[in-house]
């Protein structure tokens, strides 16, 4: 309106407006997400496994005698000696492994830990990549070149071999593995991709406006660039979770993971004891099929969520 003078909005009003916009776009994105049939399927898979893993304490409580069902040290004396691995029975829904431990308990226990591993590794990694990408895009020039060269070098490191090498120096628990994965992947390809996204954000008018109105560099990066890169970050985080879980399983299978229990370790125990050979694959299916299916479904679940998010983030992929 030509004759009304725009007044300065108070900080509180700005925040309220921001929040309203945030929730509205959230609802919008949710609708887009559910419209892609594949996204909700992935989400339901993940939710199922989260609940499945969270049910472990309940499972342990349901069997009053905890010691038998401990995933690492359990042993059932009621089973006749020499019958481990024992096929599924009512008291052991997925049977026992070669050392007499309840497989269902192991599965539940490991599921939670693997999901956490994936989320932490992917989350931390993508966080690093987002920050690097945004900073590199914002400052450009030598900062940009430096980070891109760092990314080049980090990408050269063969992942599995480097993890094995590092496990000789640090004690690799699942948490440490997650952090190492975050470092090795966060500085690499994802940073480059997020940087190009940040470049696109940087040239948008509102960033220019923020700079003119005197925002500090930190403020611009943190409050403007990063939030607009985040949707893409979140997308890549989903794909990274798949990679993290797979890497854990591969490391465990090769015998280089020194944790007591995880999805990959369940399969490793079975392989070490020699139950993954020939017709044993059929007879002792309960030693490898449950963890294998869990790994596959979890990875697929996160991937589907990623694809669902893809349609939210990338408008060109949506149905017309």
């Amino acid at each position: 309106m030509a004759d009304s003078v725009p007044r300065e909005l108070s900080k509180a009003e700005i925040r309220k407006a921001r929040r309203a916009l945030f929730f509205r776009s959230l609802r919008q994105n949710w609708r887009l997400f559910t419209a892609s049939k594949i996204g909700p399927i992935g989400l339901s898979i993940i939710i199922f496994f989260v609940l499945f893993g969270a049910a472990h304490p309940i499972y342990m409580l349901a069997h009053h005698n905890n010691a038998i069902y401990d995933p690492v040290m359990g042993f059932d004396y009621d089973l006749p000696a020499g019958t481990n691995p024992h096929p599924p029975t009512w008291s052991h829904p997925l049977g026992t492994d070669a050392l007499g431990r309840d497989v269902m308990s192991q599965l539940m226990y490991s599921t939670t830990r693997d999901i956490l591993l994936g989320l932490i590794a992917a989350g931390a990694g993508v966080l690093i990549a987002t920050l690097i990408g945004s900073i590199a895009a914002f400052y450009g020039g030598i900062v940009d070149a430096f980070f891109m060269r760092v990314a080049d070098i980090v990408m050269l490191f063969p992942l599995l071999a480097t993890l094995v090498a590092l496990s000789a120096v640090v004690k690799v628990s699942l948490l440490m593995l997650a952090l190492l994965l975050a470092l090795l992947t966060g500085f690499g390809a994802t940073a480059i991709i997020l940087k190009s996204q940040a470049l696109q954000v940087k040239v948008k008018p509102f960033v220019e406006a923020a700079r003119i109105s005197g925002g500090s560099n930190f403020h611009i990066i943190w409050s403007h660039i990063v939030p607009n890169v985040l949707p893409l970050s979140f997308l890549y985080m989903m794909f990274s979770v798949t990679g993290a879980i797979f890497t854990e399983a591969a490391l465990a299978f090769l015998g280089f993971l020194n944790v007591q229990m995880s999805l990959g370790m369940i399969i490793q125990y079975a392989n070490n004891a020699g139950y993954l050979v020939g017709s044993r694959l059929g007879v002792y299916w309960y030693l490898w099929l449950p963890p294998g299916v869990a790994i596959s479904l979890l990875c697929a679940g996160f991937y589907f969520v990623g694809r669902g998010l893809d349609e939210v983030v990338n408008p060109r992929l949506r149905e017309r």
């Binding site: 690492v72 040290m73 020499g82 481990n84 050392l99 020194n258 070490n272 004891a273 020699g274 993954l276």
Partner: protein, 635 residues
């Protein structure tokens, strides 16, 4: 349409290749052995030095030694030598060392009429050459070589005539018998030019190790044919093997009768010798040596599951695996037609080690208390279902000559309450106290112990137990988990650290005096014929950084027993001392010997027949008995 044609073409191509591939001719008279890793060199000096590995040894059938040990019973007998040395132990010599110190000497005669595979005759020249070469470069060659020649012991060797040599030694140590006289003899004709060339350079030792030996000259049952790196290696039967057709008869009364009619091939020699008694009565073994196969093909499989499938299918006849088959693989092979499983005790054991250099490991009561806590029967029979067998002595029970059946077995047969009580009593008697004392009532632990305090009043700090993780060895890991639990119940604060072998070894055998608290590892023991490893592991002079005496055990009685054993050349006397030594170890427990896991192995009994299948360390210890295995009916 186009796509279908393309698809059909591709499938046809694959089928064609498949048919072609499957049509490989099945060779007759071939013994197929599966290896779980590739061999690394055909240069035997390197192969017995820095490159020593089980898989290299599996194919090294080109060498012989002056003396060797018999099959199954490990008696000391001549191989290339003719008869025993003139003086055992070596006698004081007239000659002396330059500084006046004494020398000892003994004469060895060589068998005559033996030829190398290159046509040269085996003479004293080869023997003198070999010993001089190894003496000169034992340091550089390293590996097994220095443990054979004992550079400080060996003074010189002298050729008396073409088939007689004389050894001069700095002492009459028994290492001469079990080390020096069992050293590999190298073919002079092949190695002399190589050594001469190497000595023109700046690093002769390294150059000798680096020499490419494509066709090693052989004096043994096989000659080397080819090595397809990463895939397979082949040995051919040696047509001029001197011992073809020989017979080894071992009697229950201890006698050994070695004969060779000399008709095995054109170059076979004849002899008839008996040792250690009269050749009469029941036999333990009656074995003829061939080889009875034309070729041995060593297939490299990098995955044990695939090797097991190959054995099951018949692609290979035997798998060379120092660890034996695990449960599931044995299970799979049980149901395979034509495959036989054998079980044997290994020459080795797994153990828990203390550190006697500091508290609380320095207290005998502490060590014994922990030893009593460990219920081996529970873990071995219940948890591990017989895949592990409890062991108490450093000498494997299967080594019947050296094993003392009356060795103390702390805690055997006791139930949980009794063990805990005994441990509490031992600690209390030695002056240990607790912040909270463990209490046993009616045979059960009702109050857990907390905060053990040593007799000097210092609280025992948290003890780190280094143990191979479940990924490396589920059996040891299981022991580690339960031992740390039991110790914590007793009130000893234990922190279990499950990790890899490399890490543990780095800690324990690193530079400087070991600072570990406790660790669990295992040993493969050396020569079963003479347990001098006890000296290496527990003799007080072997307590130095990176030495084998990791606990820092210094016990005068033990040292006396061991030195008595090493100084005597009389087997009965040696046996008495060996009994005493292992008893002391079982009481003093610097190591708590935990268990051994029986070696389960498999071979195709429908295709090959082995002269014997029961032996300490299993078929893998004798590498599948290649010189004497017979093929059953051609394919």
């Amino acid at each position: 349409m186009k796509r279908l044609v393309l698809l059909g073409l591709i499938l046809g191509l694959i089928a064609g290749v498949g048919l072609f591939g499957a049509a490989a001719n099945t060779g007759s008279k071939v013994y197929n052995i599966g290896l779980l890793d590739d061999i690394t060199t055909t240069n035997m000096i390197a192969g017995l030095g820095p490159d020593s590995s089980t898989y290299n040894f599996t194919i090294y059938y080109w060498n012989q030694t002056l003396y060797t040990i018999t099959d199954k019973t490990f008696e000391y007998v001549p191989q290339l030598a003719d008869g025993m040395p003139s003086d055992m132990p070596p006698k004081l010599s007239d000659q002396k060392q330059p500084d006046g110190k004494p020398l000892y000497e003994t004469t060895v005669h060589l068998k005559q009429g033996i030829y190398w595979s290159d046509g040269n005759e085996f003479t004293a020249d080869d023997v003198v050459f070999s010993y001089n070469l190894i003496e000169k470069y034992a340091d550089v060659f390293g590996g097994n070589w220095s443990g054979e020649i004992y550079p400080k012991l060996f003074y010189k060797i002298q050729k008396i005539d073409d088939f007689t040599v004389k050894f001069y030694l700095t002492s009459d140590s028994i290492n001469f018998k079990w080390g020096t006289l069992m050293m590999t003899i190298l073919p002079k004709a092949q190695w002399e030019p190589i050594v001469a060339k190497a000595e023109q350079g700046k690093t002769p030792g390294k150059d000798i190790l680096a020499a490419q030996i494509d066709h090693p000259v052989s004096i043994g049952p096989f000659t080397f044919d080819q090595w397809q790196k990463g895939a397979f290696a082949v040995n051919d039967a040696n047509p001029t093997y001197y011992d073809q057709g020989s017979n080894e008869a071992i009697f229950k009364n201890g006698a050994v009768h070695l004969t060779n009619p000399g008709t095995g091939n054109a170059k076979a020699i004849s002899y008839d010798n008996t040792y250690y008694g009269t050749a009469s009565g029941d036999k333990i073994l009656d074995m003829t040596t061939g080889p009875f196969v034309d070729k041995v093909i060593y297939h490299v499989y990098t995955d044990q599951a695939t090797a097991v499938l190959a054995l099951s299918k018949g692609d290979i006849d035997f798998i060379e695996n120092p660890n034996g088959l695990t449960q599931g693989f044995a299970d799979q092979l049980k149901s395979a037609n034509g495959v036989s499983l054998v079980e044997n005790p290994p020459n080795g054991w797994r153990y828990l080690a203390f550190n006697l250099r500091k508290s609380p490991g320095s207290y005998l009561a502490y060590r014994q208390a922990v030893a009593y806590l460990i219920d081996r029967d529970f873990i071995c029979n219940n948890l591990l279902q017989g895949r592990a067998v409890p062991e108490y002595s450093v000498i494997p029970p299967a080594n019947s000559f050296w094993y003392d059946p009356n060795v103390p077995k702390l805690g055997q047969g006791m139930d949980e309450g009794a063990r805990m009580q005994k441990a509490i009593d031992l600690l209390k008697a030695a002056g240990f106290t607790w912040k909270q004392e463990p209490i046993v009532q009616n045979g059960k632990l009702v109050t857990q112990g907390k905060g053990l305090i040593d007799p000097k009043g210092t609280p025992v700090p948290s003890q780190t137990l280094l143990c191979p993780s479940t990924a490396y060895d589920p059996m040891r890991a299981t022991f580690g988990i339960w031992i740390s639990r039991w110790m914590n119940e007793l009130g000893i604060p234990v922190n279990l650290n499950l990790t890899g072998f490399n890490t543990i070894q780095g800690f324990v055998f690193g530079s400087g005096a070991p600072t570990y608290d406790m660790y669990i590892l295992g040993w493969g023991l050396g020569n079963p014929a003479f347990p001098d490893f006890m000296d290496a592991f527990f003799g007080s002079e072997n307590d130095y950084p990176a030495g084998f005496n990791t606990p820092g055990f210094k016990n005068e009685d033990f040292d006396n027993a061991i030195q008595g054993m090493m100084a005597s050349w009389d087997q009965t006397v040696e046996q008495q001392y060996a009994y005493k030594a292992q008893d002391i170890l079982a009481e003093q427990v610097p190591y708590v010997i935990l268990f051994y896991s029986p070696l389960t192995e498999a071979y195709r009994s429908d295709r090959v027949s082995m002269p014997y299948t029961q032996v300490l360390d299993g078929l893998q210890g004798v590498f599948g008995e290649q010189p004497s295995v017979k093929l059953i009916s051609a394919q």
